[in-house]
Symmetry: C2
Subunit: 207 residues, 2 copies
Amino acid sequence: MDLLGVLAYGELTAFERLASDAQLAPTVADKVALGSMANAEFGHFKQLHDHLVARDVDPFEAMAPFVEPLDAFHDSTQPSDWYEGLIKAYVGDGMATDFYREVSTYVKDDETRSLIQSVLKDTGQAEFAVARVKEIIAEEPSVGGRLALWARRLVGEALIQAQQVAVERDALLELLVGSGDLAGITRLLKSITDKHTDRMALLGLQA
Amino acid sequence: MDLLGVLAYGELTAFERLASDAQLAPTVADKVALGSMANAEFGHFKQLHDHLVARDVDPFEAMAPFVEPLDAFHDSTQPSDWYEGLIKAYVGDGMATDFYREVSTYVKDDETRSLIQSVLKDTGQAEFAVARVKEIIAEEPSVGGRLALWARRLVGEALIQAQQVAVERDALLELLVGSGDLAGITRLLKSITDKHTDRMALLGLQA
C-alpha cells in the first residue's frame, strides 16, 4: 500500500506540475502537448486512487507519508524556463518509471502489479521532450551545458528525497530488500543510474 | 469558428490555471477535487479541438486571436491564495459559462450548438467552491470582504478583455448583434451581471 500511495501522489503532483509548466510553453501546440501528458498522469492517479478505494484503503492516508518529500522535490526543482520543464518531465518521469518498474517486480499481488505496470506506460513524454530539446541544442549549443547541469541537480534532489522516504518507511525498504539482500538495492540504483545515462545520451548530453 | 476558438483556448487555459492553483490546496483531497475539474476542462478542450479538426479547421489558427486576451486575463488575476483560486474558479467559470450559453443560442449549426452546450456542463466546480468558501467565511468573517473585492476585480478584468475581443473580432460581434440589434448586447450583459449577483449571493457576499 505504501508503494501505491507514493505512486499515486507522484502521479498527482506530476499532473499538477506538468500542467503548470505548460504555462511556459512557447506555442499553443506545445501547451497542448504538455497538457495531454498532464492529463494522462491524472488518469493514472485516478486508477490508483480507485484501486485503493476498492480495497478499502483510504487513498489519502496511503499518500500522506509521501506528501512532504514529493512536495519538497518539486519545490526545490521548479523549472525556470520551458526547456528546464521539458528536461524535468523527461528525466524525472524516466527515473520514476524505472524505479517503480523495478520495484513492481517484487509485488506479489497480480492485480496490483499489473495496475502498476499499466500506469507506468509511456505517455509520449520522452519522445516529445527529446525532439524539442535536441532542436534547441542544435540552435544554441550553449543551452546543452546548462541543461546537463540541471539534469544532474534533478537526479541529486530525487535521490535525497528517495533516501528520506526509504529511511522512514520500513515497509517500502523491506519490499526492496525483501527479495534478497542489500546488494539488491545497489543493483537497483546502478540500473536506474545506467538508464539515466542512456537517457541523457539520447539528448547528446553527458549525465 | 471564432466562437469555438475562444471557447477552446478558454478551456485550455482554465485547465492549466486550475491545475496550477491545485498547488495552493490546503489538503490532498482539495488538490484532487481541483485536479478533477482541471481534467474535465481538458476533456472539453479536446472535444472542441477534435470538432475543429473534423471540419478541416486548424484549431491553433482558430485559437490564435484569443491567446493574448485570455493570457492577459489570467496574468492579471493570479490568485494569491487557495480561496482566491476557488473564487476565480467559481466566478470566472460561471461568467464564462453564462456568456457562451447565451451566445450558443445564436449558433445555427445544430452539431456545433449541442457540442458547445455539452462542454458547458458543470464540472462540479460551483458546488465545491461554494461549500469551501462558505466554510472559511463562517470561520473568519473578515475574509468575506477581501473575497468580495477580489470577485469584483475578476469581473472587471474579464469585461476589459471581452470588450477587446469584441472590438477586434467582427465575426463574434456580428454573431452577438446579428440576431437583432445592439439592445441584444445590453440584455446579454445584464443577464450575465444578474447571474453574477446571484452567484455572489449564494456565498453570502455582495456583488
